[in-house]
Structures are given as C-alpha cells and as structure tokens.
Assembly symmetry: C2
Homo-oligomer: 159 residues x 2
C-alpha cells in the first residue's frame, strides 16, 4: 500500500532520519501485524519484497530507530532481541510456548519512574512470562517451542 509506505517515510523524516526505501519498508514491518519481531523474522518476511535486504542493514537500521526513539528493543525472549514498533511505554507478556509477545495493558510503574532507591530510572520494563490464552486453549497457534536457556524456550540450532 502506497499510503503505509508514505506514512512510514513521513514518520522517518519527522524523526530526523533520511527516508530511504529500505528504512520505510523496515519501519512499516516493525509497526505492522505480527508485532515484536526479531531480526530474523524481519529478514525472512521482507526478503519477499526486497530480495537484496541484508541483515546488516536490519541491524544498523533498527539500532538507528532505537536511538531515535522510533522502536524499543525488548530483551524478554532469551534467544534473541525483539523489536517493538510502539514506542509508548507499556508492558509485555511472553508466551513460552508459541514465543509470541503480547502487549499488557496495566499501569504499574509504566512511565519513567524518576528515581528509585536513589537510582535514576530511564526505562521500566514489565515482563510477564507464561502461557498465553491461545496456547492454554489448545495451542493450535503454537510454533515450535524448543526449550533451551532454562525456563524459557530458545530456538535450537539447525543442526
């Protein structure tokens, strides 16, 4: 859709980022459905539209976006960094079965909390882990859940 692409470019310009084709595509993807993707997900997904897109570009672009506040990296998945296209502070639920990350809409300490115990708090992350309701209900949406780094699944080597 032209509108999404243009919307992304506008957003990039507004953040002081030169709106290249790749950046617009990437921003669009991080903000789109299938939220909270990992670099690998983005790479696999976008390769269809942009066959030359490299992981190098994904890494550098997402770092740039994070630096400019357009996306937030999440360290909730023990296997890899996931990216949140919604910059407004909110909490997250990580399903240890299907590995999806879902937004949690509770207000507890969500904002910049200022100071705690004398420490200057710049970020607050509420990470909830367990089984999402879809997996509880039968898990037909489940992806492979190879267990590895303790208590949490991790993608197994493709050995």
């Amino acid at each position: 859709m032209i509108s999404n692409r243009d919307e992304s470019k506008r957003r990039l310009t507004a953040s002081g980022i030169k709106p290249t084709f790749q950046r617009a595509v990437i921003l669009e993807a991080v903000r789109g459905k299938n939220g909270h993707p990992a670099i690998r997900d983005l790479h696999a997904r976008l390769l269809r539209d942009v066959p030359t897109l490299s992981k190098t570009t994904l890494y550098s672009t997402l770092e740039l976006f994070a630096r400019k506040g357009l996306v937030k990296p999440l360290f909730i998945d023990p296997a890899e960094v996931r990216y949140d296209g919604v910059a407004e502070p909110h909490h997250h639920f990580y399903c240890t079965a299907c590995r999806r990350i879902l937004d949690i809409d509770i207000a507890c300490s969500t904002g910049r909390a200022g100071r705690i115990h004398g420490h200057q708090v710049d970020e607050v992350h509420g990470y909830f882990k367990g089984l999402c309701r879809d997996c509880l209900a039968g898990g037909r949406l489940s992806r492979a859940a190879n267990v590895s780094i303790h208590n949490s699944p991790r993608r197994k080597p493709h050995a």
Copy 2:
C-alpha cells in the same frame, strides 16, 4: 569457609541435586557478594579456586539450578544472561554505565500474578534501567561501558 561450602552442599541435597564439589562452589559463587554474575564472571572468578572448571560445566550446572528453582536467569543485560542466586521474586535495576544489577524492593506485581488478560502468568520480571546512584555520584565504580545493542551497553568483541 568450610561452612559456606557445607551450607551449599546441604542446599543442593535439599533440592534433589547431587552435591558435587563444582556444584557447591558454583552455588556459593552465585549466592555470594558481587551478585547477578554472568557465566563469564563466574568462570573468571572461580578459575582461581578450581582451575579446571569449564564453561560447559557452568552452563549445564546453572541450567540445572534454574530448573530446580535454586537460581533465576535474568535477561536484563542485553549482552549476556545474568544469574540471580536469590530465588524469591523481586525486581531489578540495571545500571547502563557500570552494568551492575541491583535488587529493587518494591511490591508491584512481584508475585505470581495468576492471570492477566487471560494469559497464565508464571513469572513476573520488573526491569528498571538507568544510572545507579554510585554512577550518578561520580561513577568511580564504573566498569567499561561499551555501547552496542541500542540504549544499553554490550561488551564489545575483543577485536
């Protein structure tokens, strides 16, 4: 101290773990001062006492401990997994300058929250990030803080 070592062995036995020498040493270290160590920290620290201790053993032992509930892995440091020797639920502060992890003593959603939005919550992690009060006061305790994975420092390759 013999008592700490014995205390660790007792703790291992109580958790149904065969109390080997290495395991006692490792448990002692995770629970001791310099809390929330990474595998690398433990390896460097323990090599003095147990020169043959391998990272393989550290990985497998800590996974075992986590499975038995003796320690909790923390994914707050973007660079590596850190381990908490205190299994009771509590929150954490990560200093982006000195990379220390400090316990945060607030009650917000600390316990097993049961259900949220229909999801079964098994774990709750409150991760606060910013500058600790020591670093704010001058940072003489600071370790090297090589920036990498966006907004948070990561140990640089030893290139």
